[in-house]
């Protein structure tokens, strides 16, 4: 499939086998249907300029042909309220203008929540593009016969209504067949514009945008713009008179579209579901679960337990595969070292490429485990409950109930966290969440903390219970998180609101996640992480290797370590006056520089420096090398526990991961925010490390 086909839609003649769009409400099982139909034949990319996932897949039919399927983000309506919804409405508007429209739209509808889901379907029907309703979640109905399928098909005026269940995997073949069949033309049903035609036809005529192929869609779009106070072609007086006419008829202009459509839907409901009586009092199974899971104090307690379990598993379970990966990388290095002649190629392979890729692959187990838990929590419907329970405390901090998921992801890696912040509908709260995310202690900091703690913090017990080494680590995590929350509060004071923040969120029914969906989601997350972060880290690793290896010095001529003379050494020495006040020497300076690739590269950089220094010797144990390193002039140790502490505090705050800023640039669509982020993080890191080091010296520590 040609990617450009979707990126740059061009007007083309509709070929019946061309492509199909999947549209539906959030939580209607749309993605599950997409996965079932396309299997592994899908391609996930981003919409141009923004990072809303664009999923395109091939659906193979029994006749050995295929059609392309596009999965759009979930939306409740075509009048956009959030970022994701904007995508859908923009796409639909372009189809309405005849720009590469789909040959069929599959409108996915939750059968257990029929009237609300049909709202979007009626909007799609305006387009005059054939619509097939996939009536999903039939398994949730007490009795399948409760919905009169034929009647629904006729009343809506859709090409077909196909009852399916993505969970039970039935009905999907029928759906495929319906898509391939020649589309039945039906009598046009007017869900809304009939009203306009009757009441306001001649007034409306001049507002119709002739670019739209369908007059019904043009009328609906004009109505949306009138209700949004927008002017159309400068016809303000005309709009004013239409608004007055609508008020005289007893309707509110602001909610006119929804009122008309729901009036129509509520009118057909008794015909379509003759046996179902309104059941507002009925408690669903999910509601009974929620009596415990969102209970005032049990709910948050259960969440804390789940959180503890997740983090415990990230750090304990991931340790095993991480060791394997480390061993694998070491083996590959050894293999290359023993099979290639010494020289530039070998050096760049081992130190640049294998080292750089290894630095990123090592985090994959943690990312995958975290993604797995977060996907399961999302897919079961639990995450929405967490947002519901924590919204009040999060808003007090200037955040949003939905910030909790990105912030949790941030403990593994800021990149998936920043990407998942797009579910927050309010721009301001989304931005604040993104801005503080790098302070959540990501796992790339862990190797740095581990090295420094094991080398310089004595393993003594303090306060009777606490191991000082463990305590130091906890303090670092705590410091980042608390600062993040304080800054969220401060930032939210200064960032202007683009639109008012609301928090109307559906609490979907609890459901058992579909294993295949979870696995696919975890795989996609892992891949995105590897590709996004991998590219940058690889490039930087090679550049850094070059800086650390050149210019070459003949070791026999001078006894000074070659790295002193390398570009990296020179940069490190040049940095020294700036970082001296924090207690850091030129070696740390190089490490800080290389940390721009990824924080953990600090460790491999120091290893390289000490290896390069001791060229010819066996690989030295980095921890001992750092402990034993003495200043050539004074004879005092280069590193002390206080310097180690200052360095760790520096790492809590410092802006060090280029991949993060690249993602922030992408997500906020401006350079302003990544630059702001780098600036505030750098100031914070420098100031705090300075306070720790100088304050410590003042208090008599060393």
């Amino acid at each position: 499939m040609k990617k450009s086909h979707f990126v740059e839609p061009k007007p083309k003649a509709i070929d019946p086998s061309k492509w199909v769009a999947l549209v539906g409400n959030p939580n209607c099982g749309k993605t599950a249907i997409f996965n079932l139909l396309t299997g592994l034949n899908q391609k996930v990319s981003n919409y141009p300029g923004i990072t809303v996932e664009k999923k395109v897949g091939k659906v193979y039919t029994q006749e050995k042909t295929f059609f392309n399927l596009l999965d759009l983000p979930g939306t409740y309506s075509l009048s956009a309220e959030s970022f994701d919804e904007q995508i859908v409405s923009d796409q639909v508007v372009s189809w309405a203008k005849g720009e590469d429209p789909p040959s069929v739209i599959v409108s996915v509808v939750d059968a257990s929540n029929l009237s609300r889901n049909l709202y979007l379907t009626t909007q799609l029907l305006d387009l005059d593009i054939p619509v097939i309703v996939a009536l999903n979640m039939m398994d949730r109905l007490e009795d399948v016969s409760h919905i009169d399928i034929k009647k629904l098909e006729r009343e809506l005026g859709v090409s077909a209504v196909i009852p399916i269940s993505a969970k039970m995997n039935w009905g999907l073949d029928d759906l495929k067949k319906a898509i391939q069949k020649p589309i039945k033309t039906r009598e046009q049903v007017d869900h809304q514009s009939q009203w306009i035609k009757q009441e306001l036809s001649h007034q409306f005529k001049s507002l119709i945008d002739s670019k739209f192929l369908s007059s019904k869609f043009a009328a609906a779009q004009a109505l949306r713009r009138i209700s949004r106070n927008g002017s159309i072609n400068g016809e303000d007086t005309k709009i004013e008179s239409i608004r007055n006419s609508i008020s005289e008829l007893g309707y509110y202009i602001e909610t006119l579209e929804a009122t008309l459509r729901y009036e129509w839907i509520d009118g057909i409901m008794p015909l379509v579901q003759p046996k179902i009586k309104p059941k507002i009092h009925k408690e669903t199974r999910s509601e009974r679960w929620d009596q415990i899971l969102t209970h005032s104090w049990m709910g948050p307690g259960i969440f804390m337990v789940i959180l503890y379990f997740i983090f415990q598993s990230i750090f304990t379970w991931a340790a095993v595969p991480m060791d394997w990966i480390q061993a694998g990388i070491d083996n590959i290095s050894i293999f290359v070292l023993s099979n290639l002649a010494p020289g530039m190629l070998r050096d760049i392979l081992v130190e640049g490429i294998i080292g750089g890729v290894g630095a990123i692959v090592i985090f994959l187990p943690q990312i995958l485990i975290l993604s797995f838990f977060l996907t399961v929590l999302e897919d079961t419907g639990y995450m929405a409950r967490v947002a519901f329970m924590l919204d009040k405390s999060m808003t007090k901090m200037g955040l949003h109930g939905k910030s909790i998921l990105p912030l949790m992801s941030g403990y593994a890696c800021a990149i998936p966290g920043i990407m998942s912040a797009r579910t927050i509908d309010s721009w301001k709260e989304r931005l604040v969440t993104i801005l503080i995310l790098p302070l959540m202690s990501c796992s790339a900091r862990l190797p740095v903390y581990t090295l420094l703690i094991s080398a310089f913090i004595p393993p003594i017990t303090v306060g009777g219970y606490f191991n000082l080494q463990g305590l130091t680590l906890v303090v670092m995590y705590f410091l980042g998180t608390v600062t993040a929350l304080i800054l969220a509060k401060i930032f939210s004071r200064f960032i202007k609101e683009k639109s008012s923040s609301s928090f109307v969120m559906e609490l979907p029914p609890y459901r058992v996640p579909i294993a295949r969906s979870v696995i696919r989601q975890v795989f996609i997350r892992g891949k995105l992480f590897m590709v996004n972060a991998g590219k940058i880290i690889m490039a930087i690793s090679i550049v850094l290797w070059f800086l650390a290896s050149f210019p070459k010095v003949d070791a026999s001529v001078t006894d000074v370590n070659p790295i002193h003379h390398s570009y990296a050494g020179k940069i490190g020495h040049a940095m020294e006056p700036v970082i001296r006040p924090l207690g850091f020497d030129w070696k740390i300076g190089i490490g800080l520089l290389t940390s721009f690739a990824a924080r953990e590269v600090m460790v491999s950089t120091l290893a390289t420096i000490y290896n390069v220094e001791d060229r010819g010797d066996e690989t030295v144990n980095l921890r001992e090398a750092m402990q034993n390193d003495v200043d050539e002039k004074t004879g005092k140790p280069v590193y002390t526990p206080l310097i180690a502490l200052a360095l760790m505090v520096f790492y809590v705050f410092a802006a060090q991961c280029m991949a993060t800023f690249a993602i922030v640039r992408q997500e906020t669509n401006s350079w302003k925010w990544p630059i702001f982020m780098i600036t505030y993080l750098t100031i914070l890191a420098y100031t705090c490390a300075f306070i720790v080091y100088r304050g410590g010296l003042f208090l008599g520590f060393s």
Binding site: S227, E254, F388, V504, E506
Partner: protein, 72 residues
């Protein structure tokens, strides 16, 4: 009378929605129309959001927003 004045478990009928266009539109699109029944399911402590049931869905809505949904 608004949604907030219901006791958890109690059902009311919507009369209209106040507030800005943005919120009104969102709520109406989710099916909160005049004449629709709504049940207050649960309140969260410290004046946090409330959970309501409308049509066949459960929604979380902030307390200040819930105050704008007037009942008959």
């Amino acid at each position: 009378m608004t949604i907030i004045d219901l006791t958890p478990g109690e059902v009311g009928t919507i009369n209209g929605i106040k507030g800005d266009r943005h919120l009104q539109n969102r709520l109406v699109e989710l099916g909160l129309l005049p004449g629709t029944e709504v049940r207050l399911v649960k309140c969260t402590p410290f004046n946090g959001p409330v959970e309501i049931k409308v049509r066949d869905s459960y929604l979380s809505i902030r307390r200040d927003d819930a105050k704008l949904v007037e009942l008959k």
